[in-house]
Symmetry: C2
């Protein structure tokens, strides 16, 4: 691509992106009514994803982590704007083909962006604009009330375990997971390890669940967010935003099958990964007591919202204060 | 900031950004009607700005280049979303204070974003959402018609010359320009050199001009864009989008006072900088014949739109084909 220059790439992209007429101006002018829900998230090579990641998989991951934020608002995507900075020789077309296929499947359009060179690391930032479905009201973190039940729609820790495997050399190539070369793992744990890598590199945003919650009347729902920086930290955020506390049932925290054995084999602490590993990308939400979660989603009750402004973890009859020990981009450096 | 962590920074930022309630959720939910004009632009350390640039100046430059895109659409900003990736120890608060002051002055809000670590280079991507003023219709690049006059609202080449000086070591610190240490420049050229550095590092977006054009009825206006990648390349883009050509009057291209002498002293080609230097951030627009440009802006006629699908430059009675030789992020690598 480098030799053909940006002009050729943008011309190609404009053809690929279709005849929406949104690409090509300094700024995109969206048809009215414009979407009201906006989110921005970045993926940086070597920070959020391994250097060798297929550009198509990067495009899908970038979109997925942004979609997870829209899911937490109960919205669906309509327009995407991409800022992509890459070293020389990057396979932009492979990236864009995958991005456009995904967007098309969602009924969304690539409407603008910015391309640049960055010598060391692929750095991709996606802005998504979306709307809740007709009749729905966006979800937020501020609506948890003491007495609400706390629900989680997915397992914890698996993505973080996958990240550890990626750090040791696990790779995803053309849909296939290769585990680290020197990894000595009992055969019965191999499938779980592969699943963890896939879960980490290919998160699945819970758009349908977010919409189902957003369609409920306000008195039949509570707060919602996606768990991206670890349950402990994100639950603190939800509680702080709502001015409440929470009591987590340690025995109820959902983990994938065989997770403990896999953690043991890899020398990882399952509890630490589940509470603080991050990148789970599943929805955490509260509902009034008696209110069931939307049908057809893997939501389980994991505790309740309290009026005490702290987050506690109950395990084996004991309660302990849970610190916000999730993934912190800043102290993790 | 690093030791206090992202939580503390975000808490501080939420207080600084005011009580809009837009910060703090996974996605921002904007009040209706949502803005319809969207632009995204990045600034990468060592690519778009020098490594030592004051974080406050980076915030202003990042905002300015994005505002220039909104100006080209005739829109004014309402919401900003920031993705900021920085090495350890970056002075985030200095960056955000400047950004928030600027946004407040524009009546716009910081409504969301994403913070991350990036070991080598500060990489900042801003998404701006805006609207044309009431009664206005956004400008675009597609509305140039053969017979239109071509107008430019600023001088060419000065920013590119400033960029050359920055590459040689010129710096802006606390509002003061320091020229490169070893630079031997006649005293009468020093002020112009300082102005060029300032023009490069502190571009001034032409928001008011864009709005004035957008407020005109469609038959009293034409196409518009901002010159960011060099007049030659950007004029080609405007012509391609409109399906027209252009004839530039080489003698009419506006240059800052003393530009030729300064270029000569620095060993730069004034014509090359004016046509291909880039980052001029002034509006290029077309108007029907007889139609004057908005009053009070430094717009000068620089040629006309033709029905032949090529861009020509007339100098001293001769015409030559002008190639799209502006700044290309990809071939300039």
């Amino acid at each position: 691509v480098a030799d053909r220059g940006e002009l050729a790439l943008v011309a190609w992209l404009t053809r690929q992106a279709g005849t929406s007429g949104l690409l090509g101006d300094d700024a995109a002018w969206l048809p009215a009514p414009a979407p009201r829900v906006v989110t921005v998230d970045s993926q940086i090579e070597g920070v959020h994803f391994p250097p060798e990641l297929d550009p198509a998989d990067l495009a899908r991951r970038l979109l997925a982590v942004n979609l997870s934020d829209l899911a937490a608002a109960g919205a669906v995507p309509r327009y995407a704007f991409l800022a992509l900075a890459t070293p020389t020789g990057y396979d932009h077309r492979r990236f864009f083909r995958a991005l456009l296929v995904e967007l098309r499947g969602l009924g969304a359009l690539l409407a603008g962006g910015d391309l640049a060179r960055q010598p060391e690391r692929v750095t991709a930032t996606l802005t998504l604009l979306g709307d809740p479905p007709p009749g729905a009201v966006p979800l937020d973190r501020r609506s948890a009330v003491a007495g609400h039940n706390l629900w989680l729609a997915g397992t914890l820790g698996e993505s973080a375990l996958g990240q550890r495997l990626v750090a040791q050399g696990a790779r995803l190539a053309r849909g296939r997971v290769d585990l680290p070369a020197g990894l000595a793992l009992p055969r019965r744990l191999v499938a779980g390890a592969r699943r963890a890598v896939r879960r980490h590199l290919r998160p699945v945003p819970q758009l349908a669940l977010g919409q189902a919650l957003a369609l409920r009347p306000r008195n039949h729902r509570g707060a919602a967010m996606d768990v991206s920086d670890g349950l402990a930290l994100d639950l603190h955020r939800l509680c702080r935003a709502s001015g409440v506390g929470a009591l987590l049932d340690g025995a109820a925290l959902p983990r994938p099958a065989g997770f403990e054995a896999l953690c043991q084999a890899l020398g990882e602490d399952p509890q630490a990964l589940a509470l603080g590993g991050g990148e789970d990308y599943c929805l955490l939400f509260t509902l009034p007591p008696e209110e069931p979660p939307p049908v057809g989603f893997p939501a389980v009750p994991i505790g309740c919202i309290t009026g005490r402004r702290r987050v506690e973890l109950a395990t084996g009859g004991r309660r302990q204060i849970l610190l916000p020990t999730g993934w912190d981009h800043f102290s993790a450096g």
